[in-house]
């Protein structure tokens, strides 16, 4: 029998109902797991065991009824760029060390309304900029499958926590792949919803037209449950969509009969690791066996997505991060005699190199004389990318391909080469530009390291990509594998959970 910390939300909910366990017991078990693993993994930046236990106690009785809210008593980790009231929100940055938001993000309110227990705030690349969680000012998180490797980023903390059983569910954020890529590296399910599906109110902004909060879980059904709890229009977010939230989990199906899947040709070009390509192609065959009609499709402007992204995202970020200047909150440099020094030295001391790089890149792209050549041009490329997807979705119900070009790389491997780091996002970024939903589901192992299959859907058709992922998952066993606990041999394939 699996340890409590490794069960799915659905299973826990069933056990609660039957009185076999309680939220308090689960939180206790979870914190034991955290104690055992987190010194090594460093997934969490902030934990409050007493608060979590107090919250759990509130739900102990209610969950036995069977009519408790959908996530009652379920432990959830939050990426540390999501504002909470009773814990700090640092965004992995020194410039917000100790910052306590006086308000909480809408998703947090919804989670608490659904009965979830917020376990803690999890590590991330500073201000969600990076692809490995190595840009956190508070040290990197390690991949539970191999602690010499990165968990991916920027949602490395919450993803590693879920993979290692340090949380049942987690919320991350995805601007260019920051949920999907770590999900692929850590062998769990991670989803970026359609832009506007989930409220951004309380998500510390990186790139406003690209950011979305999304679920991270060990099964597709769990991800669906979590998405249901947080999705839906929020009057506090003008970009959130007034589109009905279906009962995603209830409507999951295991048959792909009649579904048309497009295999994105450009995602299998040069740069894709052979092992990863093999695993993904096998996964596509499995989908075919499940009844899907699979055919190649082209997104002709796909190779321009990454350069466009690395203009648009930094441009918006340069504006979104201007507020961190030592005036009203966060870190302030000492002894600044004038304003310009206050701002410039605070930001020099408070920001890491990647953030500085992107701020400068973004400022440059927006500055007089360059706006049209860079920013405006990138927005026009974005139109072409959007049109490519529209054309593809005229013939297909969902698109498939790899999530990342490689499996998890080693800590320190790409840290000194920004451009190399950026290339990890090559298959994920196009969806953010087009605002479309995408999910990463475990589809194999190469050298003992997880590989993810990416499924892309039409706007607000999360159901279809959840179905594809769910059907695939249920037809395979990858999702049952757990990373080694404690100091395991590097890269050795883990045994299946008993």
């Amino acid at each position: 029998m699996s340890a409590l910390a490794d069960l799915s939300a659905g299973d826990l909910r069933e056990k609660f109902r039957r009185g076999e366990t309680s939220p308090t017991e689960v939180i206790r078990a979870l914190f034991e797991r955290i104690e055992a693993e987190d010194e090594r993994l460093h997934a969490y930046l902030f934990l409050d065991r007493d608060a979590a236990l107090a919250e759990a106690a509130r739900w102990d009785g209610a969950v036995r009824g069977g009519d408790a809210p959908p996530l009652a008593g379920i432990p959830v980790a939050l990426k540390d760029n999501i504002c909470t009231r009773h814990s700090p929100t640092t965004c992995g940055s020194r410039i917000l060390a100790g910052f306590r938001s006086p308000y909480e993000a809408t998703v947090v309110t919804r989670l608490r309304g659904a009965g979830a227990i917020i376990v803690g705030k999890a590590n991330c690349d500073e201000f969600a900029m990076g692809s490995s969680t190595e840009n956190s000012a508070f040290g990197p998180t390690r991949n539970p499958w191999d602690e010499t490797r990165v968990p991916g980023g920027t949602s490395g903390g919450p993803t590693a926590a879920v993979a290692a059983g340090e949380a049942t569910l987690a919320l991350g954020s995805d601007t260019g792949g920051s949920i999907r890529q770590p999900a692929a590296f850590c062998g769990v399910v991670g989803m970026k919803p359609t832009y506007g599906r989930v409220s951004r109110y309380g998500l510390v902004a990186f790139a406003s037209s690209l950011d979305q909060i999304g679920p991270i879980a060990r099964s597709v059904r769990d991800a669906a449950l979590l998405l249901e709890a947080i999705a839906g229009r929020d009057p506090a977010d003008s970009t959130s969509a007034d589109v009905e939230v279906p009962a995603y989990a209830d409507r999951l199906t295991t048959s792909l009969r009649g579904l048309r899947l497009g295999i994105v040709k450009e995602f299998f070009a040069e740069g894709l690791d052979a092992g990863v390509a093999g695993a993904v192609r096998e996964a596509i065959e499995t989908c075919r066996a499940l009844g899907a009609a699979c055919e190649e499709v082209s997104l002709p402007h796909a190779s321009y997505a990454l350069p466009a992204y690395y203009i648009i995202a930094p441009a918006e970020a340069s504006s979104n991060l201007a507020r961190y200047a030592g005036v009203q909150y966060g870190y302030r440099t000492r002894d600044a005699a004038d304003l310009v020094t206050l701002y410039s030295r605070t930001r020099r001391e408070g920001f890491g190199a990647e953030v500085k790089r992107r701020i400068m890149l973004g400022t440059y792209a927006l500055s007089a004389g360059y706006y049209e050549a860079f920013y405006l041009r990138a927005l026009r490329v974005r139109t072409r990318i959007r049109q490519d997807f529209e054309a593809a979705f005229a013939r297909f119900d969902a698109l498939v391909g790899p999530v990342t070009p490689t499996t998890a790389f080693r800590l320190g491997e790409k840290v000194d080469d920004p451009l190399q780091m950026y290339l990890s996002d090559v298959y994920t970024v196009p969806l953010n530009l087009a605002g479309l939903p995408g999910i990463s589901v475990p589809c194999g192992f190469v050298g003992g390291l997880p590989v993810g299959l990416q499924v892309v859907g039409r706007a607000f058709d999360e159901q279809t990509i959840l179905n594809v992922a769910h059907a695939f998952e249920q037809a395979t066993e990858f999702h049952t594998r757990r990373p080694p606990r404690g100091r395991a041999a590097r890269g050795a394939p883990a045994a299946k959970a008993p």
Partner: protein
């Protein structure tokens, strides 16, 4: 209105940028109250503070008021407009960007291409309105020794910017434009529009150009906090630029601050390099699509504007056009007039008092008519007293002055100060008789045809009655008594 100097003729070219605080209940992008005063940082929320993770949501009424303004100024309302971010660092700007509307190629602002008719002396000048757009206000800075203090209460207050074409050609014209614009905005119930309170703020651009020649370099002038300072500042700047040109110097393009105390404009050193605001479309807000139906709804609810009210005053009340102009300088004044006219049936008399004694008091005291304790019913009460002869016109001026100072009604003041005019004919006749007896010389002059002597005799009666006799009645009695017309 160009100036002519010995030598080169230079024409003054002025454009105004007017920031108007809209009278909504809540702020532009959040539900914090729009109000004045109060302890610092007590009317803020995550949105107007620009806390991490906060997002703006647009106030519908601010858009309605913007449309209403556009209609009142005869502008074209652009069917699609969007918001932009204006990026710069300043402590009163929490996000270090301001959400505004930028005018750029395919990005028109809320409204453009309007007109304001300004009466200047006997002429009517048409001043173009280049654009009307919406933006959020900044916080307030208080300067102290060795530090500055920031109050974010005002952050996010809805602002509308009205930009004129550079069609103004003198500082006086600029002042008149502001008066007219303010009246339109007040009448349209879009703002309370008080320069001194800051609900109306004005920056100016001024340049000189040789008549018929190319446009000169312009400077931007800021920190003009009253109508008077606008005119004075522009006069100073106009002279400064003229002097520079006459000396053969170039005018530097820069921002200059008006110093009210020293009465000069000076260049602000803080902006060393030209500001690069890096405008880009605001991704957190959806664009505005204003269709004909929306505009029609606003048009249907448009209050009576100054021009229409002026016409009505002339036609319905028989007020001369010039007086109607003065009565509609502010909405409060126009309302005051009409309210008084409801209670006292002689509008011309009301008008004279309002644009005479009352206006003089307001100007001297630096107050607005809606602030004084004298209300329409009080003025009407006073005018009734004069009209029925109960007090003399001269006494009435004294009474009004007291009313303005103390807020007490006319009746009480008249009683207390014993100003009731004596109109008792019998009693006055007796005094007249006394005076005639005491001054045989002047009496003789009257009978000899010297009319001024009547005035002398009336004056003596007034002296005896300590100024309280009804002068018209005394005059008549004297003449009757002496048998002259």
């Amino acid at each position: 209105m160009s100036r002519v100097d010995a030598g080169v003729r230079h024409e003054t070219v002025i454009g105004l940028e007017v920031h108007v605080q809209l009278n909504t209940a809540s702020k532009m992008f959040c539900g914090c109250a729009v109000a004045f005063g109060g302890a610092p940082n007590t009317r803020t929320c995550p949105v107007c503070l620009g806390l991490p993770g906060s997002l703006p949501v647009l106030n519908r009424r601010a858009v309605d008021l913007g449309i209403r303004t556009a209609l009142a100024l005869g502008c074209r309302i652009n069917p699609v407009s969007q918001f932009h971010r204006k990026n710069y660092y300043y402590p009163d700007l929490p996000k270090n960007y301001q959400i505004s509307q930028y005018e750029y190629k395919d990005h028109p602002p809320l409204a453009s291409g309007g007109l304001l008719r300004v009466s200047s002396g006997n002429e009517v000048v048409e001043i173009g309105i280049r654009r009307v757009h919406l933006e959020e206000d900044t916080g307030k800075l208080v300067h102290a020794e060795g530090r500055s203090l920031v109050d974010y209460n005002r952050c996010g207050t809805p602002l509308m910017e009205v930009v004129s074409e550079p069609d103004l050609h003198s500082p006086e014209e600029a002042r008149l434009f502001l008066i007219h614009l303010r009246a339109v905005l007040q009448f349209a119930e879009v703002t309370s529009g008080r320069l001194e309170e800051g609900t109306l703020r004005c920056d100016a651009n001024l340049s000189l150009r040789p008549a018929g020649g190319p446009h000169g370099t312009r400077t931007e002038i800021k920190n003009m906090n009253s109508l008077r300072s606008v005119e004075r500042a522009l006069r100073f700047e106009e002279a400064r630029q003229r002097q520079a040109l006459e000396r053969g110097e170039e005018v530097v393009q820069e921002t200059r601050h008006w110093d009210e105390d020293r009465e000069v404009t000076f260049a602000s050193r803080e902006k060393e390099e030209a500001q690069d605001y890096r405008y880009f479309p605001e991704p957190d807000l959806a664009p505005l699509q204003i269709d004909a139906a929306w505009v029609d709804r606003i048009r249907a609810g448009l209050p009576e504007l100054p021009e229409a009210r002026r016409r009505r005053f002339v036609e319905a009340f028989g007020i001369p056009a010039h007086d109607a102009e003065l009565l509609t300088a502010t909405r409060a004044m126009a309302e005051f007039f009409e309210e008084t006219a409801r209670r006292f049936p002689k509008p011309k008399i009301i008008s004279n008092w309002l644009i005479g004694d009352v206006a003089a008091y307001l100007n001297a005291a630096g107050r607005e008519i809606e602030e004084i304790p004298v209300r329409p019913e009080h003025l009407a009460g006073l005018l009734v007293l004069v009209d029925t002869g109960k007090i003399s016109g001269r006494s009435a001026k004294e009474v009004l002055e007291d009313m303005l100072r103390t807020g007490r009604p006319a009746d009480a003041i008249v009683q207390e100060r014993g100003l009731v005019q004596i109109s008792d004919e019998a009693m006055l006749a007796a005094v007249v008789q006394e005076v005639i007896v005491e001054h045989p010389g002047p009496v003789g002059d009257v009978r000899a045809g010297k009319d001024q002597a009547v005035t002398f005799l009336v004056g003596q009666v007034m002296k005896k009655t300590r100024g309280r006799a009804n002068p018209a009645m005394v005059n008549r009695l004297v003449r009757e008594r002496l048998g002259v017309g």
